[in-house]
């Protein structure tokens, strides 16, 4: 048992840290630290910086332009990115679709789409959930009917994250309505500019526009946009979901969040003393930190097994539940620390940094983040679904 990183791993960490110090634009890091939006331009810019360095696709095999890092290196990279307040890499093309294309896509699809993901030419979004198919994803109803050399797609997808920026969407569609639920589903790539597609914004409870409804009316999709075989889409989707669960613990986010809370609690006065010295607040903060310390090690245990070639199993469900609970607790602490200044709704002017914030530094986004991050335990397989998986595996088939 040895909790320390190897000298090579430490060298790698130093290299990553140096890169971030040199290449991460200061204003971008500042915006992320204060919980401000960086918009599509910001994401595109960071994407390009990473691509130039060759570090955009840590999880891709080298032959496709990846950097072939092992799980420990990827973890170190993510940790350092969070520490430096780098923007999150938009995962839909890079970490979700790409692994599916690399494993199940045709040579033509790989040659066409993968370079465009790296270059940023294509922005992908994910067409999975539907209004009636959330936790029960396999009950999805969007229909694709084959007519000659194309499919005709009709239906509705929802919760499509950053779909307003996307020019392509990968979709699960029903191609065989008579087959058993999971068996009649196919995986289709759809150009968002095709006639019959309509993107409607969904405004979230914190006033942000990050998800959308996407409506398909008689949308013609060429058959060569089918990934793998018809009616095998569920297998590919499940493969994709295991990739969606990388970095599921969000250790780096929690660490950065905890630091932000501490910073605010040192500056905020409560009864004439800094809030961080208040026993009730300090106890809450300490408990969150204790939980995070243990979870970080659970995360490393799983990563180290993955680096040795073992696929993570039910543990990733455990990490998702614990990781989101800790992140949400830290969001709760942040709003408490901000006191009365948690109440204002940050205007666009404040959000974009054009006007000074109202309260202590970092307080303007805390309430919005608290509400927005309620999504963490809902999306990517809700925590209830994760617990079903844990129970099913550990209790032997009785979920």
């Amino acid at each position: 048992m040895d909790l320390s990183y190897s000298p090579e791993e430490e060298r790698f960490r130093a290299e990553v840290r140096q890169f971030l110090e040199q290449k991460l634009p200061a204003e971008m890091s500042e915006a992320m630290r204060l919980g401000r939006s960086i918009g599509k331009e910001g994401h595109d810019r960071w994407h390009a910086i990473l691509n130039e360095q060759g570090w955009l696709a840590p999880n891709w095999p080298v032959q496709f332009g990846g950097c072939a890092w092992n799980a420990v290196q990827r973890h170190i990279f993510e940790e350092e990115c969070c520490r430096a307040h780098a923007p999150r890499i938009v995962p839909f093309g890079l970490s979700m679709l790409a692994p599916v294309l690399q494993k199940f896509g045709s040579k033509a699809q790989q040659d066409h789409y993968l370079p465009r993901i790296l270059s940023g030419e294509d922005w992908w979004c994910q067409g999975y959930s539907e209004p009636g198919a959330g936790s029960d994803l396999a009950s999805l109803k969007t229909r694709a009917v084959r007519e000659g050399d194309h499919y005709v797609v009709n239906g509705q997808k929802t919760w499509t994250t950053l779909g307003q920026y996307a020019n392509w969407i990968f979709c699960l569609v029903r191609t065989d309505p008579d087959a058993k639920q999971q068996q009649g589903i196919s995986f289709l790539l759809i150009d968002m500019d095709t006639p019959g597609i309509e993107v409607r914004p969904i405004i979230l409870l914190d006033g942000t526009h990050e998800v959308n409804e996407i409506w398909f009316t008689d949308v013609k999709v060429p058959v060569e946009n089918l990934v793998g075989e018809e009616n095998k889409g569920w297998t590919y989707a499940k493969y994709l979901l295991t990739h969606e669960r990388t970095n599921i613990a969000g250790v780096g986010f929690s660490r950065a969040g905890l630091e932000a809370v501490k910073r605010m609690a040192r500056a905020q006065m409560h009864r004439g003393r800094p809030l961080i010295e208040n026993p009730h607040f300090a106890a809450r903060l300490a408990q969150a930190e204790i939980d995070l310390m243990a979870m970080a090690t659970t995360n490393l245990r799983i990563i180290s097994r993955a680096a040795a070639g073992q696929a993570p199993g039910v543990e990733s469900s455990m990490l998702k539940v614990k990781g989101t609970e800790i992140r949400q607790e830290i969001n709760d602490l942040a709003r408490r620390a901000a006191g009365v200044y948690a109440m204002p709704f940050a205007s666009e002017a404040v959000e974009s940094g054009n006007e000074p914030g109202l309260g202590p530094e970092g307080s303007e986004a805390v309430a919005a983040q608290y509400f927005n991050n309620r999504k963490l335990s809902i999306f990517g397989g809700s925590n209830e679904i994760q617990k079903n998986i844990i129970a099913k595996v550990k209790l032997g088939g009785r979920a």
Partner: protein, 383 residues
Amino acid sequence: MNFELTEERQMLQDSLRRFLRDHQKALQASTLLGAGGEEGARGFDAEIWRKLSELGVIGALFSEADGGFGGQGFDLTTVFEELGRAGAVEPVLDTGVLCGSLIADLGNKDQRAFLADLIEGNLQLALAHGEANSRYDLAQVEALAKTSADAIVLSGRKAVVVNAEAADVLLVSAREDGASGAEEGISLFLVPRGTAGLSLRGYPLMAGGRAAEVDLDEVHLPLSARLGERGQAHEALLRARARSEVALAAETLGAMETAVDLTKEYLGTRQQFGRPIGTFQALQHRMAQMLIELEQARSAVINAAGHLESPSTAERDLQIAAARNLIGRAGRLIAEEAIQMHGGIAMTQEYELAHFAKRIIMADHRFGDTDTQLERFIDLSAA
């Protein structure tokens, strides 16, 4: 022992509930008025405000001696539980309870004339008391009042003044003696909108309505602007806060009831895996827990309201701290569980649950959060 409302309060509850149900659309629209509004906007629906006053909602907050027909703890809870159930953002708390109590308590004959206007719905008020460094402590006042032979001059800044832009008159606190943190030496002043040197930076609030940062740059007032005795406002502020906290606790309880109702309904109708999700025992137990916490919250509000007129202010404040600590905890559980059991739909601004969750959670940031209430309770029980 009798836990029934009096006939008068029952009638008020019925008519208010009916009115709020009939105006659901307008109430929902007004939750977004602050956000969409221009600087200086009201952030609430003036028509709803007028009708609420016609119904007697504001009169119910005052005793007969003050021109109303209620004014006791259970009058406040009757009104505010209904406002909370409907998710109303109209500033009944700030104008009616917080400022109304201060004028009723401290006002001289001329100043008390405001009460009639207030009860008729013709006056908006805001309390400009908290400051950037005061957090939830009423005695932390740094703004200064300097008195000369014929004028009072205020200078300083006030933080997160709810309803400031709509207010015809601001009740501004400032220090005339002592250091920040001293209970002695704090006075209140009536400052009409538009007074020279008074400027507001307004903004919407996360849970609806608006507030402002208030800058006092050499605000000259006549000597008659002081509300109450020189330097003696702290006790009245404590009393006004006590009344406001009882009202806010009841309002939060009402919002919790609606969050629970919406979740119950959703569990019965949302189908996943071929059946209503409310048939899953894992969710049934969580719903049961929410219902248990809701009854705890209801009793905590009754405890607080029942002690609002207690001759012992320590007993009054202990009961209020208990109620708000419990509601802080139960409210968080209910808001978060309601969102979680709804799933994605609860994350949208369009679905009404989001607004109620915000009302419940953001209430924790007024007058003292869950931890602060715990601290007050511990101090008062040790005393």
